[in-house]
């Protein structure tokens, strides 16, 4: 300011008395520009007093808030305030431009009687200022109400003081319903502690804002995943007033992510199954081909036993045929079955299987019990289900204990998404510690039984997999085995 005043002293030929007089009695002011930017402005006391009369909250320090553009005389100045002064200058005031030391000073002097003109211009200025405020307020309101993200003003005790449309659609409550709730009440319990901890830090002033991923309960009870950002509004004295929260709903992308994860899991599983299958194929085909080459080598060297070798060659070829048949069966299993899925009533299905193995059970004196409650239904492929039951039930018959009255009991229990089907016997049992990992392997058998081929459980397992089901086994040697099959309800 001192250097400005020096400049002004220059203007009034360095006579402080004249300067003081002017300041007290003249209506004048100056605008100081440097490189076309306003550096400072000065209004004489009389001008200030007048301006204070017409502008309620007039404050000459506010002049610095506006940016002025200096233009040549008669050109338009866009900034409202400088425009008014410029207008004053050209109409009634004396306008003088002084340049010194890269600075430009515009000195404005005008008589008091022209103050009415100032009034009208300042009035215009005020109007436009109010207009601007109104516009920005309505723009904000519009923005708040219709924002793509959820916005809310939350009271210090957690009440939803004011929420926008997005929040209410996201959480399923009307604005009125929400105003009676606190965010604590509809926060997923596991996320509440973290939220409250951060909120406390925010209130204490330890952090300026926070952001976290959290879950809310939708009115319908389902979970809404959101990213929450919270900041705080204080009063003039710095006391907390309320929180401003922004919530982005990421439920849909979460669901998509879950779906992708699930798909990835399925494809990994399928890949693994294919890999295993490739091993099975090579191994099983190799064992036959090596038998062939061995027998053929013998055929060429041996003289006396040709007849017997030929017999074995035929046997080997039959074995190969059987293996290929099994492998084909498995290949067909894994090809698309979705469209063949249907709702199947379990009880009659089990009855059918029991009927078909009736004579086998009678021969081994095994009692077959269909304990499935009537009306239990699952979603599957009838042919698979039939084969699964057939495999597990004949298994139970085959490995029954000759030492006691044997049974195979089939029961079912409806769980949330799956039905648990139990096939329990009191037969020989399997040592799961020894054989558990190979139980459902191809050509694995665990008992010395004439009919054991190690293919039944393998196919059954593959069929259950194809139906998106699961199978578990519990067994105690010489007590019995229970297979638990989980198949989808729909």
């Amino acid at each position: 300011m001192a250097s400005l005043q020096n400049n002004l002293y220059n203007v009034v030929q360095q006579q402080p008395e004249i300067w003081n007089f002017l300041q007290e009695h003249a209506t004048f002011g100056y605008l100081l520009f440097q490189k076309n930017e306003l550096q400072d402005a000065f209004l004489s006391n009389t001008l200030k007093v007048h301006l204070a009369k017409v502008i309620d909250d007039f404050d000459d320090s506010l002049l610095g808030l506006y940016s002025y553009t200096y233009l040549e005389e008669n050109q338009t100045i866009e900034t409202e305030f400088s425009y008014s002064i410029k207008a004053l200058c050209s109409k009634t005031g004396k306008f003088q431009k002084i340049e010194s030391n890269n600075s430009t000073i515009i000195l404005v002097v005008f008589p008091l009687r022209d103050i009415t003109i100032i009034d009208s211009i300042v009035g215009k200025y005020r109007f436009s200022l109010e207009e601007k405020l109104r516009i920005s307020e309505s723009a904000f309101k519009n923005n708040f109400e219709n924002a793509a993200i959820g916005m809310a003003i939350i009271t210090l005790d957690g009440k939803w003081h004011k929420v926008n449309n997005r929040i209410s659609s996201m959480l399923g409550y009307t604005k009125e319903e929400l105003s009676k709730l606190t965010f604590q009440e509809i926060t997923f319990p596991e996320d509440l502690e973290k939220d409250l901890g951060l909120l406390k830090k925010l209130t204490n002033g330890n952090i300026p804002y926070y952001q976290m991923e959290k879950r809310y309960f939708h009115k319908s009870g389902k979970i809404v995943y959101g990213i929450l950002a919270v900041s705080m509004v204080h009063d003039e004295k710095g006391n907390p007033l309320y929180f401003i929260s922004q919530v982005i709903d990421i439920t849909a992308s979460r669901a998509a992510e879950e779906k992708i994860k699930k798909l990835l899991h399925t494809s990994r599983e399928q890949n693994e199954r294919l890999h295993n299958f490739a091993h099975i194929v090579t191994h099983n085909l190799r064992s036959h081909s090596s038998n062939f080459s061995m027998l053929l080598e013998l055929y060429q060297t041996e003289n006396e036993d040709k007849e017997e070798i030929l017999k074995l060659l035929i046997m080997a070829s039959d074995n190969l045929k059987e293996t290929i048949h099994h492998l084909t069966e498995i290949v067909n299993l894994n090809s698309s079955i979705e469209e063949k899925m249907e709702t199947i009533d379990l009880y009659p299905e089990v009855e059918k299987v029991i009927e078909s193995v009736h004579s086998l059970a009678e021969k081994d004196d095994v009692n077959l019990i269909n304990d499935i409650p009537k009306g239990v239904k699952i979603f599957g492929v009838p042919a698979y289900l039939n084969s699964i039951f057939l495999n597990f039930i004949t298994n139970g018959i085959k490995y029954s204990s000759p030492e006691r009255e044997s049974f195979v009991k089939i029961s079912a229990e409806k769980l949330q998404d799956y039905t648990e089907i139990s096939i329990a016997d009191n037969g020989l049992g399997i040592n799961l510690d020894k054989h558990g990992d190979k139980l459902f392997g191809m050509y694995k058998t665990f008992h010395d039984h004439e009919d054991s081929r190690g293919i039944g459980l393998f196919i059954a397992k593959n069929q259950i997999d194809a139906l998106n089901g699961k199978v578990k086994v519990e067994s105690t040697e010489n007590k019995g085995t229970t297979f638990k099959i989980y198949l989808k309800n729909e």
């Binding site: 191994h283 190799r286 038998n291 061995m294 027998l295 013998l298 041996e302 074995l312 190979k438 058998t445």
Partner: protein
């Protein structure tokens, strides 16, 4: 040259056992042969032989993929009863799974891994290997 006195085949595939027996005869591999159809069969019989202090086999040709008790399970049990006199064990399998082949290194008593089919030539090699 050391001749093999008693050889033992542990394999569930009757065709393979027949063929191998014949090739052994042709190549004059050993004096006599013991045959077991799976790991459990072999384990119970061999432990009886060891307990009775009878003649134990010089060489065991062991299949991997067998019912009831497979080759690996047999090996895990057999090390517990193996007598001080070392028995030379060969794995004879049609598995070309690298997992199986690498697993051999975990067992010190395995001499080698032979992939089926076993030819006359291969058997003669084994015999030479054993003798030296």
């Amino acid at each position: 040259m050391n001749k093999i006195d008693l050889a033992c085949i542990i394999d569930d595939d009757p065709i393979f056992v027949f063929g191998l027996k014949k090739i052994m005869e042709v190549s004059n591999f050993c004096e006599s042969i013991l045959i077991f159809k799976n790991g459990e069969d072999a384990l119970s019989n061999l432990s009886a032989i060891i307990n009775k202090d009878e003649k134990i086999p010089d060489v065991i040709l062991l299949d991997l993929n067998m019912p009831i008790m497979d080759g690996w399970q047999f090996l895990d049990e057999f090390v517990k009863i193996e007598p001080s006199q070392r028995i030379t064990i060969y794995i004879v399998s049609s598995s070309i799974d690298p997992q199986d082949i690498n697993k051999v290194q975990k067992y010190k008593n395995i001499r080698n891994y032979i992939i089926k089919p076993v030819t006359l030539e291969r058997l003669t090699e084994i015999l030479k290997e054993y003798s030296n």
